[in-house]
């Protein structure tokens, strides 16, 4: 009897092992891939967008939105495959009443499960907060605030070719010169393709403080040092960004000087 059980167990292990080898050699250990998310998310989004529009009494069709997404898992150095709560998708769509920000997309955060279902939460600036007011004036749950979707694990896995530029931003809330007169600002580069590169020109009033080149990977932070010291008595410093790769703020950023 024991021998039979051992044989059955061995057979089970052999079947599992064989199937594993077959799956491994036929490529892709996970059905959760960038291409499948990039195809599935816009469909779920567009349908949910129509639901939201109907709630507030607007008439929008899913096809008119032309939603497109680019997804990325956990920064540039991690392969874009497998479940996890670290998927980011950039999505653009066309709605005359909700213009896209200058970079051309909104950022969705996705929690993707191994069962090929995901929960996406939208950028509140574009998709609204948890509660919205419907056409009858009643507060209702915003379907776009957070929504679920599932995709076919056997669906086409060809790349979609959708790319969006990373967004470069100056994140320091203020500029603080050190005792030696050195001044630095913190910058970051958001999700997107190919990272951020370009120049930042700093001015304090009419004084040009110099131009700093920057080059950052996507989803990375960095520190830029101003070439010249901030003149004494300057209240604020203005930074003008000229991106060569990726997107940047379209208007100059003005940051107050924090006296030491």
């Amino acid at each position: 009897m024991r021998r039979t059980i051992l044989i059955v167990l061995a057979a089970l292990i052999a079947v599992i092992g064989l199937a594993s080898v077959v799956t491994a050699t036929t490529g892709g250990s996970s059905s959760v891939t960038r291409a499948r998310l990039e195809k599935s998310l816009p469909v779920v989004f567009a349908n949910t967008y129509v639901n939201q529009a109907n709630l507030v009494g607007r008439n929008v069709t899913a096809a008119s939105l032309h939603a497109k997404a680019m997804c990325d898992k956990h920064g540039p150095d991690v392969a874009d495959i497998g479940p996890g709560g670290d998927w980011n998708c950039l999505m653009s769509w066309t709605d005359p009443q909700v213009p896209m920000p200058p970079e051309g997309y909104g950022k969705f955060e996705l929690n993707v499960h191994s069962n090929d279902c995901f929960t996406a939460s939208g950028p509140s600036k574009l998709t609204g907060f948890l509660t919205i007011t419907d056409k009858h004036g009643k507060p209702v749950t915003n379907p776009l605030f957070e929504f679920d979707g599932c995709f076919d694990p056997h669906s086409d896995n060809a790349a979609t070719g959708v790319y969006f530029p990373s967004l470069f931003a100056i994140t320091s809330p203020n500029v603080t010169p050190t005792a030696q007169g050195r001044t630095t600002v913190k910058v970051n580069c958001g999700t997107g393709s190919q990272g951020c590169a370009g120049t930042v020109t700093a001015t304090a009033g009419r004084v040009n403080l110099g131009t700093m080149p920057y080059k950052l990977k996507e989803e990375a932070t960095g520190t830029l040092q101003l070439p010249k010291p901030v003149p004494a008595g300057a209240k604020e410093v203005t930074f003008e960004v000229k991106p060569s790769t990726g997107a940047g703020p379209t208007s100059p950023a003005t940051i107050p000087v924090q006296p030491r």
Binding site: M1, T4, I5, V8, A11, L12, V15, I16, A19, S20, T23, A24, S29, S30, S31, V32, S40, V43, V44, F45, A46, N47, T48, V50, N51, G82, P83, G84, H113, S114, N115, D116, C117, T119, T141, P143, E146, F147, D148, G149, C150, F151, D152, P153, H154, S155
Partner: protein, 293 residues
């Protein structure tokens, strides 16, 4: 032969058939197993639970001010009856369905060990194979019954208490109430194959360990382990081979377009688990030496 039989008196024919099938037959063994099951308080308690438990669960979830959003369809569960049945379905497949079927299947062989009645049973005029299949069919029949009752009760109470508004599907699309009812019913039906897989798993454990406690608890624990393994990243290659993966195959019915690949895979995987489990169980029962006790 048939011609002769049709002209025979029914009573005579009965006795002739009985004489022909001197070993009592599968039918007799099956009737006996069902009778034993009907006499047990446990089986009735499980069936009553399957019918009654969904009602308070539906009432309680319906009364929540914030919907349970971390489960699929949970975010619509407080204002859509279809979503609520699917939420309960998702929960039932975690461990409830394996437990409900294992309560009978995990006990049906081991109880003979517990009561020391194998000798009595096997010296009756039925073969071991007939007793094996009678017990297996009884356990499977019970699984079908309990799943049907649980599904019917959950769907009925959800629709009556929460309502039958159009459902938002897994592609964000709106599904009309009529279609939604069909899809929800189909979803519950798709869990039959993996539930029967768990029935067979409970049978082999019941036969192997000769202990009802092991037969009932182990399938539930194995089910939870499979859910855990299936949820891990990195080892997803074995995910399709897990019995619990088939429990989630219904997701494909609610997308646009629908996909049925996982349903077919789930059917094959459940069949493989069932055949292997029953094969092992049958081999053990066949070779078992009952003279000792």
């Amino acid at each position: 032969m048939t011609a002769v039989q049709t002209h025979m008196d029914p009573a005579v024919r009965e006795s002739t058939v009985a004489v022909e099938r001197r070993r009592g037959g599968l039918g007799a063994a099956l009737r006996f197993e069902v009778r034993k099951l009907r006499a047990q308080y446990r089986g009735w308690a499980v069936l009553a639970g399957a019918v009654l438990a969904p009602i308070p669960i539906v009432v309680i979830i319906n009364g929540q001010s914030r919907p349970p959003k971390d489960t699929l369809f949970g975010r619509f569960a407080t204002d859509n009856g279809f979503a609520l049945t699917l939420l309960i379905l998702g929960f039932a497949t975690q461990w409830v369905l394996p437990l409900l079927t294992a309560i009978v299947a995990g006990d049906i062989f081991a109880s003979e060990d517990q009561h020391g009645t194998w000798k009595t049973v096997l010296t009756r005029s039925t073969s071991r194979a007939q007793i094996f299949w009678a017990k297996t069919l009884t356990a499977c029949g019970f699984a079908v019954l309990v799943l049907t009752l649980l599904a019917a009760s959950t769907i009925a109470s959800s629709l009556l208490i929460v309502g039958h508004q159009p459902l938002t599907g897994l592609s964000g699309q709106t599904i009309g109430a009529g279609t939604a009812l069909q899809l929800v019913t189909a979803s519950w039906a798709t869990t039959l194959a993996p539930t029967l897989g768990f029935t067979c798993l409970a049978i082999v454990l019941s036969v192997w360990f000769r202990n009802p406690a092991v037969g009932i608890a182990t399938p539930v624990v194995l089910g939870m382990v499979m859910v855990l393994i299936g949820g891990l990243g990195g080892i997803e290659i074995i995910r399709p081979l897990l019995l619990t993966t088939s429990f989630e195959a219904w997701h494909g019915l609610f997308t646009q377009p629908r996909f049925t690949g996982p349903l077919v895979e789930g059917l094959l995987v459940s069949a493989a688990w069932s055949v292997l489990s029953l094969g092992a169980a049958f081999a053990i029962v066949r070779r078992r030496d009952i003279t000792g006790g």
